[in-house]
């Protein structure tokens, strides 16, 4: 029982981050048909900025939480600046070009890996615990911090879901991702919408970054790790599908957690990859992918 609850808690916690991360990937693909490998670097930029800024700010005498509240926006802004640059100088010219945009993003990933290493150094950065204390129930214990992460992540996910469902922007985004030509015919300014979608996606990555920073091991390579996981999630969920990303996020997290618990965890890694191929055998477009 205790282990079961513990594992559930763990899966939920990992899943929360995967969901946040993958939502961005899937949104950008839905709207712009872009396979965005740079997502991981945007995420890493946010996390690294926080990890870098927070200790400095805290040194000024602020309590961790306050310092975090200052550092987090800085991280988000840094990430957004980066993604705006990426959009205006790159992806803008590669909308709906699945191969071209993919190639461009691979190039950008290689470049940014070098840049992040130069800027932040290779050392592991660690954000001091922002929220202290633990929560125990059913004999399972999680840090208050990771609980907050889960809650925020799930709130953001539902928020985005509702936004897409009910706001004007959301409807427009959906329209574009279903049939952009039709959307343009009825006078939706595609370019603006695409940019909006890209920004929202980057914002999600940035938020995931600043949320994960206090409880993970932040180094310039963190992006790649989450990127691979994130793509596994969106493939399984179906590129462009929001509910797909959410379900698959939890699914992959569960598989990983159970794998790590019942198997040697390095096999769990292989297992997740095998899972992708298996899923695509059954559903070449993922579980909730649009035909």
């Amino acid at each position: 029982m205790q282990t079961a609850v513990q594992l559930m808690a763990t899966a939920l916690q990992i899943g929360a981050v995967y969901i946040l991360f993958s939502l961005g990937l899937t949104l950008v693909f839905g709207v712009m048909r872009i396979v965005n490998f740079v997502h991981g670097q945007v995420f890493a930029t946010a996390a690294l900025t926080v990890a870098y800024a927070l200790p400095t700010i805290a040194a000024a005498g602020l309590p961790p939480l306050a310092a975090y509240c200052v550092a987090a926006p800085v991280g988000v802004i840094a990430a957004l600046v980066l993604s705006v640059a990426i959009y205006t100088f790159g992806f803008r010219y590669f909308q709906r070009d699945e191969i071209g945009s993919f190639i461009l993003s691979i190039g950008l990933v290689l470049v940014l890996d070098g840049v992040l290493l130069k800027v932040f150094g290779g050392a592991v950065h660690r954000v001091p615990e922002v929220i202290t204390g633990v929560v125990s129930s059913f004999g399972a214990t999680v840090t208050l911090q990771s609980l907050v992460l889960c809650v925020v992540a799930l709130l953001l996910a539902t928020g985005l879901y509702l936004m897409l469902g009910h706001t004007k922007l959301g409807k427009v985004l959906r329209a574009v991702s279903i049939d952009h030509e039709a959307a343009m015919m009825v006078g939706i300014p595609y370019g603006k919408v695409a940019f909006g979608g890209f920004l929202i996606a980057s914002l999600l990555a940035a938020l995931a970054g600043v949320l994960i920073a206090p409880m993970s091991i932040v180094s310039p390579v963190i992006g790649t790790d989450y990127l691979i996981k994130g793509f596994i999630v969106v493939i399984i969920g179906g590129l462009g599908s929001i509910p797909g990303a959410i379900l698959a996020g939890l699914f992959v997290a569960t598989v990983e957690t159970l794998g790590a618990f019942y198997l040697d965890s390095s096999y769990a890694t292989i297992a997740t990859f095998a899972l992708v191929i298996a899923v695509l055998l059954v559903r070449p477009k993922g579980f909730l992918g649009r035909g």
């Binding site: 594992l7 290779g122 999680v142 091991i217 790649t224 790790d225 790590a260 965890s265 390095s266």
Partner: protein, 392 residues
């Protein structure tokens, strides 16, 4: 019309490469020390620190009048390339160092795969090779030009585990975890054997992928065996900290060991209070009376550069330079083969203080291992404290 373009550009490209193949800086009185270390990726900091330490030692020696051998005076120069921790890049670096820069002495190679790639070329061309890599297969009579500049599990683990077991005589069971990389795969069997030799029951021995950032499930698994000792082997300190923290959360209390743990800082950063009491085999204490003011000064410079304390890996690069100097002057020659023949018999001043030599006949069948002091350290009240030291 495209074809000639192909040729011209192709030729131009190859030429540009050859242009830098001929190195004008190859003055006779400079001895180049080649370094093959990761300067990118997750191990970049180890590489940067190693380069720093090689240069430090070289500077000291050059300022102290250089190396006097065969009637000449030589200076050391460290040349570093990024081996990206894999064999393919390791080969590129090896080719560049040995066949382009005409390096005869490798001041240090970091990462088992690239080291093996380098060794394949170095041994064939009689280039002397120092490495911090642990692979037992790297040593032995068939590799007469290779020397290890750092303690490996074969040196560290028996005293470390012996000490831990003595301190906690009630502990009779252990669960082990190692990263699924070269160091992990080298450490695990040795540690397992040593524990069993000490009458400890090994419940489980797992591997995890480097780059993992979420350790709760892994911790839950090892905790589920309810061992009295948990040994995270060659897990990097940052990961180790996260694991101990998760274990602490699950209410596991017991003896914590991080065999190749190098410093308290990173461990504390990810582990918080859970880092308390962890035993380490590769830690170096830079406060307290065990170190000289000079060592502290070096470490402070390193901290500015790397954001963390020096560790035994990087210190190995410092010691290798002094070992080479001594051997060259003793052999009164700068010819790699002669120097390699002399190395086993010399003693040289080590960073850890005092003079040390080489050994390893019984373990490796050949004298190729620096006989360095073994430091058993423990995190006490958030500080790394040296609890046991065995000097050669």
């Amino acid at each position: 019309m495209k074809a000639p373009t192909t040729l011209t550009i192709g030729v131009v490209a190859v030429m540009s490469a050859s242009a830098c193949a001929v190195d004008p800086a190859a003055a006779q009185d400079v001895i180049k020390l080649g370094l093959s270390v990761p300067l990118s990726g997750s191990a970049a900091n180890w590489g940067k620190g190693s380069e720093f330490m090689c240069q430090k030692a070289a500077e000291e020696i050059n300022q102290a009048g250089g190396i006097k051998a065969s009637g000449k005076t030589y200076n050391f120069e460290c040349i570093t390339y990024d081996n990206k921790y894999n064999a393919a890049e390791g080969t590129k670096v090896a080719q560049t160092l040995i066949n382009r820069d005409a390096v005869k002495f490798i001041g240090g190679a970091l990462g088992t795969a690239p080291t093996k790639a380098l060794q394949a070329i170095a041994e064939r061309q009689d280039v002397l090779l120092f490495t911090v890599s642990w692979g037992k297969s790297l040593k032995g009579p068939e590799h007469p030009m290779t020397f290890t500049q750092q303690n490996t599990p074969y040196e560290i683990l028996p005293p470390l585990i012996g000490y831990v077991v003595k301190q906690h005589s009630q502990a009779k069971t252990v669960a082990m975890l190692n990263p699924n990389d070269a160091t992990g795969q080298e450490t695990e069997p040795v540690a397992k054997a040593t524990y069993e030799k000490n009458g400890i029951k090994v419940f489980a021995s797992d591997y995890y992928e480097r780059g993992t950032t979420e350790f709760q499930a892994i911790a839950a698994r090892i905790a589920s065996f309810k061992p009295e000792i948990i040994d995270v082997g060659s897990t990097p300190p940052a990961d180790a900290g996260a694991i101990f923290k998760a274990l602490d959360l699950m209410g596991w209390k017991g003896v914590k060991v991080n065999e190749t743990g190098t410093g308290a800082d990173t461990l504390k950063e990810t582990g918080g209070d859970a880092a308390e009491g962890v035993y380490m085999g590769s830690g170096v204490v830079f406060d307290g009376d065990t170190v000289s003011a000079y060592q502290r000064k070096l470490n402070d410079e390193a901290r500015k550069l790397l954001g963390e304390d020096l560790n035994t890996i990087q210190i190995g690069f410092y010691d290798a330079v002094y070992a080479l100097k001594t051997a060259m002057e003793t052999a009164n020659s700068v010819e790699a083969k002669k120097v390699a023949e002399t190395l086993p018999d010399i003693t040289f001043p080590t960073f850890y203080g005092g003079k040390v030599g080489f050994f390893g006949k019984e373990t490796y069948g050949n004298v190729q291992q620096m006989r360095l002091p073994i430091l058993v350290t423990q995190v006490q009240k958030g500080k790394l404290v040296q609890v046991h030291r065995i000097d050669p």
